[in-house]
Structures are given as structure tokens and as C-alpha cells.
Symmetry: none
Subunit: 279 residues, 2 copies
Amino acid sequence: MDSILLKAKSLYEALKPSEKKVANYLIQRADDVIHFSITDLAENAGCSEASISRFVRKLGFSKFIDFKISLVKELSLLEDKQNVKNDATGVADLIHHLVQQGVKSYKELSQLVNPLDIEKAADWIAASKHTFLFGVGSSGSIAELGASILVRIGVSCFAYADPHMQVIVGSNCTPEDTVIGVSVSGTIKDTIKSVQVAKNVGAKTIAITGGKESPLSKEVDLVLYSSPQGFEAGIGSLGARSSQMAILDMLISTIVWKNETCRNTIEKVEQALVPKRFS
Amino acid sequence: MDSILLKAKSLYEALKPSEKKVANYLIQRADDVIHFSITDLAENAGCSEASISRFVRKLGFSKFIDFKISLVKELSLLEDKQNVKNDATGVADLIHHLVQQGVKSYKELSQLVNPLDIEKAADWIAASKHTFLFGVGSSGSIAELGASILVRIGVSCFAYADPHMQVIVGSNCTPEDTVIGVSVSGTIKDTIKSVQVAKNVGAKTIAITGGKESPLSKEVDLVLYSSPQGFEAGIGSLGARSSQMAILDMLISTIVWKNETCRNTIEKVEQALVPKRFS
DNA sequence: TTATTCTTGAAAAATATTTTCAAAAACGGA
DNA sequence: TCCGTTTTTGAAAATATTTTTCAAGAATAA
């Protein structure tokens, strides 16, 4: 069973403006929505009943009432921890809230991930001559983090956060290379473009994104879905970033698990790092 | 709140014949009822809509829809234990394990974090002329990620992953600057050295590390503890990395929460990023 | 039996939801 | 820029659902 809130978040970028209003309201005030009629919701979300109707259909329900029933089910299952304070009144509350969000994000992630896709991606990477990670902004840092761990296990891997470099590297790819585009929303032009270029010259392309139906996910050969950007999350989209990292970790762990040689490599790297450490 | 089914049973003898039909149907086929309209239920129970309406009122609901929502809640809580393990290939198990570790890591984190320290660090950063993040290897990527989000909220912040640059920048710091050293273990010589240099010229120093009693944590003015590197974690030290990110997110969220101006900056940055995205 | 009350469902009224359709907005090409 | 096309949207119409009203018929009591 798919989570409604999750689906609303991951489809978010593919929604029309009026539908986004509905999604916003739903994500922020799901508890209220279960008591609303379609008319109430329309009024509160600031759109027409027709838009609500279209929205719930996009989420996969044929009728508003089905949507509502599923939402009630979902919320009642999440509700086990009654006393979650939503409005932070102090730094301690704020921190507690962020931790809660982080945990929730991880739990969501386990529903999003398809082990077969992870395995496929891991196999591609392991079999590739080179793997390139493309991402800009914060996703660029994630890409670099991923690369820094992949090289540790002996994968020839490079991350590029500069769009120019991305296009240059992308255009020099071969069918023996794998390119991974990282973007929370899946709507970043530079990343999409660079991945396209690589795909055109025959490289295998993978996206790590929270955006279902996003431009990026439509371009690539394989999509690994991470948690979509939630409004309630911290400023830094902690949840979304953590889950991108988690996807990378899953890839890496899978590669290691399936390849004997990696384990030797890790040991070798660990030894090489010893002089960099104290005691 | 009382159980609906229970109430229907206990009120049973006080019900009128037509209402008993409804109660019978409800008690035996509750799972179906949640998908029924009042008309469907009337037909299936063998009475009129009016009788249904009266029945649910007797149960304490003013409207049929309220009754239905409560029923859905009740039933979904009953069938809670749905831990269905699907085709556990090796990779699926591996992924499940990693997610579990991630959740555990977050929960641990809430015990590690001291809100007062977070607040102090946030205040330092907010009051500083510049903030510098130092880290090498994977921690360098985390540092860069942190910087990329901090600049978004208007903090003058730079990350350096190159030890040479770190020392250069560190030696040029002033007491109006804050330096944050990032290292999971807290034993990385380059990071420690760079932070020392900055401290010597009067900068405020913070460590984000999982290493209690580690060389790095002994050097700095303030330590923000992240989850220590667990051996059981994924190769990429997912748990440790996530928690470093979480610490950064807490810092950032705290700064935003305490500073009105940040919110305007975020809005401004969001606007500037629009042309970088597709639709 | 007959008057009275109670129970019930049909139908009316009120609400709620879905569909249709044309206006308005956004987009794309020249 | 303009103009034609497509997309998005909400008003209103068409349906569907729910609630209320009310009178017929059943049950009860005298």
C-alpha cells in the first residue's frame, strides 16, 4: 500500500498550480482533511471542488470518498505516537521535531525503495568502466559524498557539481560508463541536461530523485526514488538529503556484498588512511 | 473513544427491529461497510436509508460520514500487525537492515544532542562575520553540504575540503569568525590541525564529531556530538553521516527560527533558483 | 373494537460529488 | 512583440448521497 502523503509529495512537481494548493494543504493539515467534505477542502485549500476531484484522481483514487478513507487509515496507523508536538516552542522542541521527521523519512524510504532496482543499479556500477555522479547545489555535495565512498570500495567514480564539467564529462561517456543524476526535485535543468548528453552517447543513466514523474526521472534508464522534499522538514531538507545518502549507501553496500574484491579494497584503503589519523 | 462494534453490541437489545438488521450486518461485515454508501448499506442490511441514519445517531454520531470515518480508524488499528515480509532476496534484507540502522541512528542522536549546545553554536554562527567548515574526505562533502545550505539562509559560510586551504583560511581567521571541524572519528590530523590554527588566532571553534574524548573534541570550544561510527553500519557509515547532517540541520533550523531576516533570505534564494528548474 | 403510540420507508429536501464546458491563462512559434 | 494553440481552471449543470419529513401501517392498550 502506498502512502498518500508520500505520493502527494513525490508527485508534487508534476502537479498543476491549483493542485499544488491542495497538496500543500493536505501535507500540512492532513488531520483536518479527514473531517472535510470536498467543498470544505476546496474552500480551505483555495481552489474549486473540481480541482480537488482531479487531484485525488491523480493520486490514484476514483472517488473523493475513497481518498478520504485511505487517508484516515494511513493517519490512524501513523498516529501511534500521540504526543508529537508540531509547533516548536524552544530549541529542544525544534530538535525533537527534526529527529522525528528524520525517523519518519527513513520509514517512508523503506516503502519507496525497490530492491530489484537497487541491485540493478549496483550491477551496472560494478560492471562500468567509470561512474559519474552529477548534481548541483546541495545535491552536488551528496554526489561528492557518494563518490568519496564509492572510490573507497574501488569503484572508479567521479562527482561533478559544476554544470559545465558535467556536460563535458557527459559527452565523453561511452556505453561502458554509468551516469547518476542526483536531484531532490528532479527538476534541475543543468542536471537533466548533463544526464541527457550522457545518455545520448550511450551511457547507462540512473536518477536519484524524490520527484516521481519529474523531468529527470523521465529521462533516465533507471530511477531510484528517494524521499521527496517535504514542507514540514527542516530548512536543509534533511529528510530528502538523508534519504539520498541512504540510497547511495544501499548501492554501495550492495556492490560490496556482491563483490568479493571490494572487501579487500576497503581493507587496503583503511590501511592507507591510518597515517592520516591520530592514535 | 469507545469502539463502534462494541457499542453496537451493547446497545443491541435496545435497538428497533430495523436497526438490529443494521447492527447485525455491521458486526458481521464491518470490513465491507467502510466501502458502502448509506444506500448500499441500506440495501445490504435490508432496510431504508432513514433507518441507517437513525442507527448511527443512536451510536453517537451526528452524521453517517462521521460514523464511517470512525469505523475506518477502528478497523485499521485492529489490523495493525501487517509486517508482511515480501520476497526476501539478499538485497532486500540488506536494504531493510540499512533502513533499520538509519532509524536507530536517529533515535540515538536525540539522546546525544544537547539543545543548549546547539543553541550556543547557532548563536555563534549567526553573530559571526564568517563561518568556515573544515573536513576532509567524506566529511568534506558533509561540510560542503552544510555550507551550501547555510549560504541559502544568508550566513556567510565557506567549506574547505582541502587541508592546505583549511590551514590558510584558518590562519586568516579573526575572533569574529567561527570554524567548524567535521570528522566522524575526531581523529583526522588535517582537520584537527586546521581547527587549532584557527583557534590560535582567536576564532570560535566547534567540532561535529562522533568521537567523545577524541583529539578533535579536546581542541575545540564547543563539541556537538553526532553518532559515532558503528561497525554495524553500512560501508558508507550512513548512520554517522546522517547524524552529522542532522546536526547541521539542527543548527540551521535553530538559526532560522531565531532570526527573522533568514526567512526573507530563504524566500529570495528560492526565487532566484526558479529559472534553474523546469516548470 | 378503537384510539393512541411507535416504527418504518417513500419521497422530498438538503448536501455533496462529479462532470462538462467555456473563459482565462500560459505557452510556443513566427 | 503578436497570434494561434494548448492547458488550466472554476462555474454551473448533472449526479449521487444523505438527511429530514411525514404519513401509512403495525403494535399496544383500554
